[in-house]
Symmetry: C2
Subunit: 171 residues, 2 copies
């Protein structure tokens, strides 16, 4: 898919068909995240990929807003370091945001929908995913083929008007 | 450009030719940022676009690492709300990261390079860009046609190995 189409077609998808994501496609999506830029190239992420139905069902319990994870074809857990310094925590979030959209656009390019989820229950997350001390599960990105309409460029996205968001030369 | 090529071709570019970015291209790049997802669709960003050489030269002074802004064809300032709550600040950074990569991939798709810059001198930033109280300049994204090699898919990116970053089913 053309980049401009993928950017306009990506939307939050939280209802998926039962179709699995082929391993090469999943690897490409993960590779997009691996390539994301980060401050001084510190790459503060690890990606834990869950595809088993029973495991996805359990993983969906880490946050009340993560129910769509249970039906996803695959979910990527973004695991990150626990940091003492607030400034570093903000840098971490920015970089995780950069990895997230890289992943989501690579998925959209393949016709695969994606939906974010936050994580509340870190103990459960750790028990399920097995990440070590000093790390936490920052976000989940659920993936799957849309149960509803396929991904296609959205003509009128639900966003503030362009003229409101963009200021030329000066606010 | 195909999405997968744009994802692999995007790299930090901090040296630019003197070629201007056509207004429709700049608008497309900004539109990509406008479409980025954010928590509960709060869209916490305003984009201030600077293209004048004198203004870019001044803007490059907001941080020691922002010198490439002076030579850019255009630079987008990401202006965001000042927030009291630390959790909200982290959400803000994540969403700004999502907007950033949307912008950068839309640029890469057009053969346009991009380079991040942080901002240290908020007083100077406010004086130059004119954003109101209660906002700050979070990041700059400098844009321009690469002075060196054109954007093309990078075969071996400077990143941790895939096998190190990606964990299947369990850490």
């Amino acid at each position: 898919m053309e980049t401009w189409d993928a950017i306009r077609a990506r939307r939050n998808v939280r209802s998926y068909t039962s179709q699995a994501i082929e391993r090469p496609d999943l690897e490409r999506i993960l590779e997009a995240g691996r390539r994301a830029p980060s401050a001084r190239n510190w790459q503060p992420w690890d990606f834990v990929v869950v595809t088993g139905r029973a495991e996805l069902t359990e993983l969906a319990r880490v946050w009340q807003g993560a129910r769509h994870v249970a039906q996803s074809a695959a979910t990527i857990g973004l695991v990150a370091p626990v940091l003492d310094d607030e400034h570093r925590r903000e840098v971490l979030r920015y970089d995780l945001g950069q990895a997230t959209i890289s992943i989501m656009l690579a998925a959209a390019d393949l016709g695969i929908g994606s939906g974010h989820a936050s994580v509340a229950d870190q103990d459960l997350a750790r028990q399920l995913l097995g990440f070590p001390d000093g790390r936490f599960l920052a976000y989940l990105i659920a993936l799957g083929y849309p149960a509803g309409r396929p991904l296609a460029p959205i003509q009128r996205p639900d966003r503030r008007p362009f003229e409101d968001v963009v200021h030329w030369a000066h606010w």
